[in-house]
């Protein structure tokens, strides 16, 4: 009995001590931040940086939460009241809902290039709710050896040149332009870069962005004479008839695309810089053979230049619900310091948005610079929620398998876009 009482006493003492220690910990002012990240390729790098930051700042603890579908995860968390402090997710619907912290006063903007700052600025409020650390570029990667073998001496400058080159490549039994069309976001990119590129070039990036956000059909002109959507559909079918695409267009994946290009079966593929490291990892000898060019414009009526995507990548946003904005900025400033950003650029093969970071980010760094100077630089499209790249890609699948003609595709595209826009008004 005496023994039992003694044990009870000891247990109580241990509990009290634990409670006191826990209390002490709370009074030291420790701050816990969560970072919701959707970029799989940088999870380990960020974890390593968190350790370094915590070692230097013992009162701040950061937890990285990775979710492949971080956008859905963030919305679920917002509804559940479990809002992270920092996130890599940036969506117009969340900007409009007022969920982001105004980062306009962050000191890091002094180091960011003016073009990236402009792309990070919300056109409706003129404030910055994210800071992107990198620029990204998308266009047509091509195999220089295949081009030479097919007698193509220079990159195609016009649509007619492009079609002629496709025929030459096809004649040599290569796949001219490989598309992993089962992953519809890639087809959505075709429209975003090639189809919407016509609108962006005609209106200019800022005006086009506003027109897309406000669904200003007087400017977007989805269905009228000279519709960019119809031009895209017509050109797409022209490419199909020319045997441009791989036979498994609707079932091939992103990995198949990389595989076919890296193994020299496909002459070209449409992607962003993010795909480059996968190609060279698959076949290191490809590094010296890779060329990169803008998309030849599908609309030759106004003799425009080719278009190439040049937008921001790796954005960080602080959520408005955070109680630790100062600590969040401190952590982000650590991530954004020159040394860390140099390493990050080389990890993700993307040029830095910071003017003081000079990274050797890609084996085709100079080729990309040439492509950017040759083509009209466009940004991503602000699509209405519910009609993003995936939905557009499914329509393009339909165009490929014969569900639509160029005319019916145009009508369907405009109607689905408008329905999604109206549903989110």
């Amino acid at each position: 009995m005496k023994m039992r009482k003694m044990m009870m006493g000891l247990a109580m003492l241990a509990l009290a001590a634990t409670g006191a220690l826990t209390g002490c910990q709370k009074t030291t002012g420790n701050v816990e931040l969560t970072f919701l990240n959707g970029k799989a390729e940088v999870v380990d790098w960020i974890d390593a940086k968190i350790k370094e930051f915590e070692a230097a700042n013992p009162t701040i603890k950061i937890t990285q939460e990775f979710d492949k579908d971080a956008s859905s995860a963030l919305k679920t968390k917002i509804n559940g009241g479990d809002i992270p402090d920092i996130t890599s997710v940036y969506e117009n619907s969340l900007v409009n809902g007022g969920y982001y912290y105004d980062m306009s006063s962050f000191s890091a903007w002094n180091r960011v290039s003016s073009s990236v700052k402009e792309l990070c600025t919300d056109p409706l409020t003129n404030k910055q709710y994210r800071l992107a650390t990198n620029k990204t570029t998308a266009g047509l990667f091509y195999n220089k050896d295949i081009f030479t073998a097919c007698g193509i001496a220079a990159e195609p400058a016009t649509w007619a040149d492009f079609i002629a080159d496709v025929a030459k490549i096809k004649a040599q039994n290569y796949i001219p332009l490989y598309m992993g069309g089962s992953e519809t976001w890639m087809l959505g990119h075709l429209m975003e870069f090639w189809g919407h590129g016509i609108i962006k070039e005609n209106l200019g990036n800022v005006a086009a962005n506003l027109a897309f956000i406000n669904n200003d059909q007087t400017k977007l002109n989805f269905t009228g004479t000279g519709s960019a959507i119809k031009t895209f559909a017509t050109r797409f079918l022209e490419l199909k008839d020319a045997g441009c695409w791989n036979s498994d267009f609707v079932t091939a994946s992103y990995d198949d695309q990389i595989e076919n290009f890296a193994t020299g079966k496909a002459a070209m593929f449409s992607q962003g810089m993010w795909a480059l490291s996968k190609v060279t990892a698959k076949n290191p000898t490809m590094a010296s053979k890779i060329g990169f060019m803008p998309y030849p414009s599908m609309d030759e009526s106004k003799a425009p230049k080719a278009v190439v995507l040049s937008d921001v990548d790796s954005g960080y946003s602080v959520m408005k619900a955070t109680k630790h904005a100062t600590e969040a900025e401190k952590f982000l400033n650590f991530l954004w310091n020159v040394d860390n950003q140099k390493a990050y650029c080389e990890l993700v093969s993307a040029p830095s948005a910071f003017t003081d970071v000079d990274a050797n980010w890609s084996v085709i760094k100079d080729t990309v610079a040439t492509a950017l100077s040759k083509g009209f630089n466009i940004g991503f499209t602000s699509t209405p929620s519910g009609f993003g790249g995936g939905e557009c890609g499914a329509l393009i699948q339909g165009l490929y398998i014969g569900d639509y003609t160029a005319d019916t595709f145009t009508t369907k595209y405009a109607s689905d876009w408008n329905a999604a826009y109206n549903a989110n008004k």
Partner: protein
Amino acid sequence: MTLTKAREKGNWLLNNLHKGMIWPAFLLFLAFVLLPLVFSVGFSFTSWNGLGKADWVGFDNFAVFFQDDRARNAVLNSLLFAGCSVPLLNFLGLGYALLLDKNSTLNKIVKAIVYVPAVISPLIMGYVWLLILKDNYGVLYSLFSLFGNGDAYVNLLGDKNWAMAVIIVVNAFQYVGLTMTIYSAGLQDIPSELYESASVDGANWFQKFTHITIPMLGPSIMINIITNIIGSLAVFDLVVSLTGGGPAYHTETLSLYIYRLAYGGRSGYASAVSVMMFFLIAIPVGISYYIMRKSNLYLNEEK
């Protein structure tokens, strides 16, 4: 406390323990089924975008549903899938059960092999079949190439006329074991005296099958048909892994459409489509139940 009272208390606890044990299950049911169901019905009358407050729109979402081409396409795809899957699963399941009815070691092994796919996640099953059927890379394509005719291989998953058929076959491959097991259990319950009496009366195999086996399998038929209808109309994982609803929405089912709507900023409308899906499932289930009760199936019920 007297010994009698203590015993009475102990008996009361034992007699009522089961009532307490229902609570964990009930709370889980409440949290993960009943409340979401109620919320879903509530949200179906709003324009909720998945974030923030939900504005009341009355029956607007339901009006939109009846004009929504993609919803109509998803309903037709779901009905096509269920319309083919339910009979296929039941014919195959019953066939296997009858063939493997004898209690031999070989039959037990075959039954286990047929049942194994049912315990694999449908998502994994879909990806495995994708590896078999994929054009240019799949096992079947490689076999065609091996025999020198890779170009003759038809890309079934990329063909709008074949893609749904592939999903139906893979679904049957996965779940036929489950259907077979229920029929096998039903066959075990049929008294052998019935067959012996029928034999004495001169009944042939077909007469015994139609007049004894089928009526006596009534409960198994009912369980299989109703669960197959519910499962088939709500199919999701196999479609996601095999075709992702493509090509061009030709295999997009209602559950996949709801998922995409919910995470595409149209959660209110997604809830309305979910309510419509509830009726889409409840109506055929109700009709099947009614037909089976009116039939001469032996359902262990007093008629």
